[in-house]
Assembly symmetry: C2
Homo-oligomer: 400 residues x 2
Amino acid sequence: MLRSFGLNKLLGLSRSIRPSLSLSASYSTGKKDTFYFKDLEVTHSTTQKALVPKEQLKFGHGFTDHMLEVEWTRTGGWGTPRIVPFHNLSLSPAASVLHYSLECFEGSKAYRGDDGKIRLFRLEDNMKRMNASSSYLALPEFDTKEAAKCIQELVRIDNRFVPEGLGYSLYLRPTMIATEDALGVSESNSALFYTIANPTGPYFPTGFKAVKLYADTEHVRAWPGGTGNKKLGANYCGGTTPTLLAKEKGYSQILWLFGPQHNITEAGTMNAFIFWINEQGVLELLTPKLDGTILPGITRDSILKMARKWGEFQVTEGSINMEQVLQASREGRIKEFFGAGTACVISPVKEIGYAGNDIHIPLDINDPSSETGPLAKRIYNEIMNIQYGNTPSEWTTVVE
Amino acid sequence: MLRSFGLNKLLGLSRSIRPSLSLSASYSTGKKDTFYFKDLEVTHSTTQKALVPKEQLKFGHGFTDHMLEVEWTRTGGWGTPRIVPFHNLSLSPAASVLHYSLECFEGSKAYRGDDGKIRLFRLEDNMKRMNASSSYLALPEFDTKEAAKCIQELVRIDNRFVPEGLGYSLYLRPTMIATEDALGVSESNSALFYTIANPTGPYFPTGFKAVKLYADTEHVRAWPGGTGNKKLGANYCGGTTPTLLAKEKGYSQILWLFGPQHNITEAGTMNAFIFWINEQGVLELLTPKLDGTILPGITRDSILKMARKWGEFQVTEGSINMEQVLQASREGRIKEFFGAGTACVISPVKEIGYAGNDIHIPLDINDPSSETGPLAKRIYNEIMNIQYGNTPSEWTTVVE
């Protein structure tokens, strides 16, 4: 914490932006250490895009009429937050984001419930994680509440794009990029924070579809002393060739491993969970602990909190290696295995390819046609019920 | 190699672009697997930027009148190469380069010799490395000779920006970015290859300036199974906070280490070299071997080839750890330590901070005021002589 303070001081960044923090001192120097919802300026689009029919919605393709953007400079701090018509960005070909990957992002969603109300799910937690990512790149932080309020206003203005129906949502993509038009590996003196929104359909349009993961013993996603626990673009590009190689072998995604023991870290771009009877004979839901190489997923955290509240089985943030998975598989101790993330909530796994073995993962022993195990399905349903407002929760915010 | 072929096939990329490769087959499908110099279209700028006075040139700041750009799509292949007025890029806020760091770059220079001629240095080797970086991100490759010829033409057109004088140069920045306007972690279906040029002064305007490196035992630049041997933006952003922390401690750059033995990997954004008497009592120039975590630097390669040709001491691509450096320092066996890269050619090191020790590195024992050791100086001079045309070499190409 002290270290981070010193660093920010060195960089002329705000010390630690908290909602309760008085910013009068920085105001007096004319530098803004956060932007504020009250300053938001809105320019409405003069044209309205046609809504894409629900069955044609495709994740990541097609955006709403507007976007949120806020410029930042190291000398002046944050500028005025603006909601403006969706538009291309004009960037210098020397902009640092294009050369040194000074970029980070978040993913969150707005959901329309049966009651017609639109809800956000833990958006402020995304904003907190973005501050952690951004500051690691010497890019600015902001007041997480103020940022969430500005994004909420974007959703309100573009509310006609939030599709109806369970599984449908408006995907939100807060993004921070370094914009300084100068080459040279060093911190950028300007940045842009923006948010775009993409109406999207259910990840599993025809019900769950369990996937096969390839446990990759050759490529490594993240390592101690690296950036695997931040949501940086840099953590994703390295998976391109490994994932294509896994697809060539007939798998959907990589099960990322680490270390000589082949510890499980993440599943594709999701956090990994195993539900099993562990070596002590205890029924346990286990996910890799946040050791610096794991993204602190918001869905991951929601699952852990939910399962601990149930109190029906042991819930562990720990470690598990592939030899343990193989042994558990041989002894019939694996109940379920799944990935978890914002895009799909839960992605059940039916097979893991590892070192020449095809490790079969059970789904629902009572229903051979099922593409999900009962725990994965239960978690999925409970989280969806919260997100769509069927279960009241402090995790949701209604967009008024 | 076969793997790479299969991958490229899967992606609809060219198999292996070699100058000798007949591309008629791909032509017949209407898809271009490379672009060609003969197709280059030039649009001259209607205005001419004022030249910055030599003493005000700053690395990475300010660019020439023109830039090279070539668009690519997965379905259509490469478009027409164009030299056009320097301009901002118009990118969708969803462009994959801004989210998943699908980007790579190169650094090369054009030098104006005493004879008035402008020379390029091993530019085609940069193009080969870019193909390796780009294909790892499922972005396109090109014919390296054709790409080098197009960049050479950019230098020819903007030749008035190539400054006179030893140490002055026109820095060239070939860049590849993914431009598809869709979110989702997968390969991009469109890309832009471009090159911008920045007139720049000597890295050491007043002669060498030896630096202090901080041997960082906490942060790690690259990992086996990662992307450390490619020139990806993703390899640079992670150094932001570690480098700022090192600067807080009074060091210029990080000496990157790897593994429990603290093996030396790179120095800042440069390859690392030690000149010492090794444990066998042999005088040796050693640089870390290309084990997948080290950038295959073109200056590194030039130094190795040059020193091997001299045959005056042992030249080794191997490994060395910090305990060995400490021990060698205690026993007075270290002669010199330096970084090597395109920007500075050679960067002499005078101190390494490691685990509480300040390891003193000798410079010139015959000249206490010197900021470089004799070997570093000799290498620097020999390479500069080649680059500026004083020593004929197959490594240079004259821009006619």
